[in-house]
């Protein structure tokens, strides 16, 4: 589903080179590594926010290395969530659908569907200011998944949550993947999250990605 072939990325003085790995359709792969090793940089390169200096990124066998982020159809959940302060929860879920010019009825239907899946139906009319950490996480997840992207990139989605909410969100992520069948690349440095969620674990070390245990 996602394939990185010998990818090199330069970000200022930071450089990653020879990054290669592959994710199969419907897999939940966790990418681990210590802070500052370039995990977020890899996610940004996959969704097109950071240019790749050499190598190729393929999505479903299509080379998207030079594609605009808007054309890649990848759901992205950054670590800080980056919710839109001027939009309410409904508008977050409807954002990508409106850009696709779907009908009002189709948008309403999909928003309700996502809100039910993520358990945020009572929040739909709320502004994002004042939402709890767990609620904000669900809204960001719903925003990323509403347009049914085949791939979802999660950047430390559980790192800022308390233990109870973290467990709850782990369950939710599993449930979401079962229902949607989305392929997930999940960056974390938390071993427990990886053990609970991953079909496979990749480790980023010294600028190279390898299978855990290799």
């Amino acid at each position: 589903m996602i394939q990185l072939e010998d990818v090199s990325i330069t970000a200022g003085s930071f450089r990653l080179s020879g990054v290669s790995f592959e994710l199969s359709r419907g897999e939940h792969v966790v990418l681990m590594g210590r802070t500052g090793r370039g995990k977020t940089t890899i996610l940004e390169a996959i969704c097109g926010l950071r240019p790749v200096t050499t190598g190729r990124i393929l999505l479903g066998k299509v080379d998207v290395t030079n594609w605009d982020p808007a054309d890649r159809r990848i759901g992205y959940l950054p670590q800080d969530l980056a919710l839109f302060p001027t939009l309410n929860v409904y508008e977050h879920f409807a954002f990508a659908l409106r850009l696709q010019k779907r009908s009002r009825e189709a948008i309403d239907q999909r928003v309700v569907e996502m809100a039910e899946l993520l358990g945020v139906t009572p929040l739909l009319g709320r502004q994002i200011q004042g939402l709890s950490g767990g609620e904000s996480q669900r809204v960001a997840l719903g925003r990323a998944l509403a347009a049914e992207p085949p791939v979802l990139l999660l950047d430390e989605p559980l790192s800022a949550l308390d233990d109870a909410t973290r467990l709850e969100m782990r369950g939710l992520l599993k449930q979401v993947q079962q229902k949607t069948g989305v392929t997930i690349l999940h960056v974390t440095h938390n071993r427990h999250d990886a053990e609970a969620l991953a079909d496979r674990v990749l480790v980023l070390e010294e600028g190279r990605v390898r299978e855990n245990g290799e």
């Binding site: 097109g48 605009d68 808007a70 950054p78 980056a82 001027t86 954002f95 925003r143």
Partner: protein
């Protein structure tokens, strides 16, 4: 302690206003408002400040965004150039504008090029438009456009600074996420960043408007202070003072203070609503 320091400044401002107010009475206001040239200056001030502020906001938004979001070669130079009108004596800016518009470039002066362009546009205006609009010769130097350009030249620098700070306080990540959701760069700016920048835009407009209202030096040099033509309230204060009419001069000054209060008050109210 902090209250005392801040309080001293506030007391000074209040004393200045009280001193001005004690030097005038309602009859002076009646007298100045009865003068057609001061009514003209009042109207021109409102129009020119508003046009200059809108232009400043437009340029300030574009340049502020560019400076806040992008790194490019020569950025330090752009940054420095933007600050030039802030540090330059206003009179020098007016003089520079005057020289620029009268300097022959390729055998033609900028002023002549503008007048030719204005004549070309006027010649193509439909006949139903007022004859004055179609036939009145337009010029920048010593004309109303000169007043606006002089105000804009200074006010814009402040608008750019305000917008740069505004954009640098907005999380660029939200814009990036919007792009992964299907937005082009432009759509992400319009849909996500600009709505967040609205309170900052209002501040930039306010600062630009207020700067334009207080502008005097560049207007005097570049547009002149011709009554019923290029006179704005700041030049009225000077003109009245120069003929020894101190009462009228003070009354116009207080009128400007009232205008500033009214505009700033309304914009703060609107800004408060936007902030919510």
């Amino acid at each position: 302690m902090l209250g005392t320091i801040g309080g001293c400044y506030l007391v000074l401002m209040v004393l200045l206003l009280v001193a001005n107010a004690s030097y005038t009475d309602p009859s002076h206001f009646k007298a100045i408002l009865a003068k057609p040239e001061i009514r003209y200056a009042f109207k021109l001030t409102i129009v020119s400040c508003t046009v200059a502020a809108i232009m400043s906001l437009w340029v300030g938004t574009a340049l502020g965004y560019l400076l806040a979001r992008f790194s490019f070669r020569g950025k330090w130079l752009v940054d420095t150039l933007v600050d030039v009108p802030i540090v330059l004596p206003p009179l020098v800016l007016g003089l520079s504008l005057l020289i620029l518009f009268h300097l022959p470039i390729g055998g033609q002066r900028l002023e002549d090029l503008f007048q030719d362009a204005a004549r070309w546009v006027q010649g193509r205006l439909p006949s139903w438009m007022p004859e004055a609009v179609r036939t009145t010769p337009l010029r920048i130097t010593y004309g109303v456009p000169g007043v606006i350009l002089a105000q804009f030249s200074v006010a814009c620098a402040f608008a750019i600074r305000t917008m740069r700070i505004t954009f640098s306080q907005i999380n660029p990540r939200a814009e990036q996420v919007a792009r992964t959701l299907g937005c082009s760069r432009g759509q992400a700016f319009w849909r996500i960043t600009l709505p967040q920048a609205l309170p900052g835009m209002l501040s930039a407009f306010t600062v630009a408007w207020a700067r334009s209202l207080g502008e005097f030096g560049p207007i005097l040099v570049f547009a002149g202070a011709t009554r019923m033509r290029t006179e704005v309230l700041s030049t009225t204060v000077f003109l009245e003072l120069s003929v020894g009419n101190l009462e009228a001069s003070v009354a116009v000054s207080l009128l400007m203070v009232a205008m500033a209060f009214a505009v700033l008050g309304v914009l703060r109210l609107v800004g408060g609503e936007l902030g919510r």
